[in-house]
């Protein structure tokens, strides 16, 4: 297969991926660390390298509103945001999923204020799990580019028609340069069909954009949205398989297990930290310790089957959360725990909250997490939520 590898950042990889999907309308407002993506797209449109329209909107609220409107008349659309900008979109995110408009968005995962912070964590997107968008988290720049292409195919599928958010860790992925293979336009055109939606609004078929419902039909709208999200699981699987056959790169659909086959203790995580965990797993495996990684790719729809399947095979599961739902636990942990509770077996569990506001998660810390899980199983320790590498004294 012919390759065209260039050394670019995660932000630039997203822009290259979006360009290959030929969106008709892009509407976005710049925010660190997403800025480079939308700057590049704006430049590509300006230079005539892309046929679409770039709408320079005055806010994120307008960005999501514009993409929804364009999607309603049958346009393929793209937006991008991060942190406070994503939260400013929140009202529109629910509108968009309820309207079944398959807008695709890139979110650069960044902390939310206060304290004000431009650095990375996953509190922005994880606090919006319930807004009806498909959420995927990527591990490197290549996966970011590839997922833009997959995202349109998944979101626009007739059984899905649900918007999709592709999340990449702020700075660690958005601002890191690496070798990325840029697929050929011809191959992407063959892979990604022209967007067609049964809900298309036109002068011939006028429709109501901001429709309302009464108590006697609202539940049915929401039921169908939920059904579409579950149907997306099969579509995600098929699209990843088809992508692998076409482009030679496979992402193992909902989750990726790394050295979990005979593992006793496994860490679960999202995004770029999975790469660092792989390195620690290899090191500990070489020392005879049976550890593994479960990389969760999709948080919605949630990979319940895959988590349950893994839980049946291991003694302990630790979940790294780059977020905290104050007054309870990390959101990834809550979701993983819910799935594990549905199997008829005890698994020792622990929640490691770390990497907040850009703090590094080191290889030594990851190794310590694995050791804590081994210790917890052996000593039947109490399960708890632990803030990792805390510089103040914990109350535990």
């Amino acid at each position: 297969m012919k390759t065209n590898k260039i050394f670019i950042s995660g932000d630039e990889a997203v822009a290259q991926g979006v360009k290959l999907c030929r969106p008709h309308v892009i509407a976005a407002y710049p925010i660190t660390p997403q800025t480079i993506t939308v700057e590049r797209l704006s430049e590509m449109v300006e230079a005539g390298e892309m046929d679409g329209i770039y709408m320079h909107v005055e806010s994120e609220h307008s960005a999501i509103s514009a993409t929804m409107g364009a999607s309603a008349v049958g346009a393929r659309t793209f937006t991008a945001s991060s942190s406070q900008g994503l939260l400013y979109m929140a009202e529109g995110l629910h509108y968009c999923s309820g309207g079944r408009w398959p807008v695709v968005m890139m979110n650069a995962n960044r902390s939310v204020a206060l304290p004000w912070s431009i650095y990375g964590d996953q509190r922005d997107s994880l606090s919006l799990l319930d807004c009806g968008w498909i959420q995927v988290y990527v591990e490197d720049a290549q996966e970011a580019l590839d997922m833009m292409i997959q995202a349109y195919k998944i979101a626009e599928h007739k059984d899905v028609l649900t918007p999709m958010m592709v999340n990449l860790d702020g700075f660690i992925l958005t601002h890191t340069y690496e070798l990325v293979d840029i697929p050929e336009q011809k191959m992407v055109d063959e892979f990604l069909p022209v967007f067609e939606t049964p809900n298309k609004m036109s002068f011939e078929e006028p429709k109501n954009l901001g429709f309302s419902s009464k108590p006697d039909d609202n539940t049915e709208f929401k039921y169908q949205q939920n059904e579409a999200m579950f149907k997306a699981i099969d579509v995600i699987r098929d699209v990843d398989q088809e992508f692998a056959e076409k482009f030679g790169r496979k992402y193992y659909d909902m989750v990726e297990e790394y050295r979990c086959d005979d593992a006793e203790v496994v860490l679960v995580a999202l995004g770029s930290v999975c790469g660092t965990i792989r390195v620690v797993v290899d090191k500990m495996r070489a020392a005879g310790k049976k550890v593994g990684l479960l990389k969760i790719r999709y948080m919605r729809p949630f990979p319940e089957t895959e988590v349950k399947d893994l839980a049946r095979r291991v003694h302990a599961i630790g979940v790294i959360d780059k977020d905290i739902s104050f007054g309870y636990e990390g959101t990834v942990y809550t979701n993983v725990n819910s799935a594990i509770s549905k199997i008829d077996k005890y698994v020792y569990k622990s929640n490691f909250v770390g990497g907040l506001g850009g703090r590094d998660i080191t290889k030594e810390e990851i190794e310590e997490m694995f050791e804590k899980l081994f210790f917890g199983v052996k000593n039947k320790s109490e399960e708890k939520v632990e803030f990792f590498s805390l510089n103040v004294e914990s109350n535990d």
Partner: protein, 185 residues
């Protein structure tokens, strides 16, 4: 894996140099590389760091660089208390200076090499932008990438006219470091 830390001031091109090395190693050298700046707001003149990681296989490790094998200092005033943290003992430190003895004495745990990159940059480029002079010096001192790959990375990244001048700088600084080691050796 080899880890390289670049010290400069905002606007001096330290991050560009970290990427040039990444391009030389990956696009032109068949290896794998990551290049990234110290994350955060950018300000002209403020001390900034950049990093390059190079390995023969795909680099999965996304944690911060804590054991640099090479450190490049484009502005010697950046060598301040705390500088030694995160550098592997025995690592090679390249400093843009006219008086390398000062740093060889101050940093005994490391192999310190000096080059007057500012003068070289003024001579060829006419501006005190020392990133490519230091890049050439690093390539000579480390052998991380070939001189040919380093030259190719500049031609990949820069417009032809600017590339010509910077190729000249890289070749010259590469030569200066090689001459130094011949004298020492």
């Amino acid at each position: 894996m080899q880890e390289i830390r670049w010290h400069g001031r905002g606007g001096q091109g330290g991050f560009t140099a970290s990427r040039l090395l990444g391009i030389a190693a990956s696009v032109h050298g068949g290896k794998h590389a990551l290049a990234f700046p110290s994350f955060g707001p950018e300000r002209r003149g403020a001390p900034v760091l950049a990093f390059t990681k190079i390995d023969d296989t795909k680099i999965h490790d996304r944690s911060e660089v804590q054991n640099s094998d090479y450190v490049v200092v484009m502005d010697e005033t950046l060598i301040a208390p705390g500088f030694e943290k995160g550098i592997r003992p025995g690592a090679c430190i390249l400093v843009n200076t006219e008086k390398v003895e000062v740093y060889q004495k101050a940093l005994p745990a490391f192999k310190v090499i000096g080059i007057d990159a500012s003068t070289l940059a003024m001579e060829i480029l006419g501006r005190p932008i020392t990133n490519t002079a230091m890049y050439g010096a690093l390539v000579a001192a480390s052998g991380l990438v070939s001189l040919e790959a380093a030259v190719a990375s500049i031609r990949t990244e820069m417009k032809p006219k600017l590339a010509d001048l910077n190729v000249k700088i890289v070749e010259r600084s590469f030569e200066i470091i090689n001459e130094q080691s011949t004298v020492e050796g």
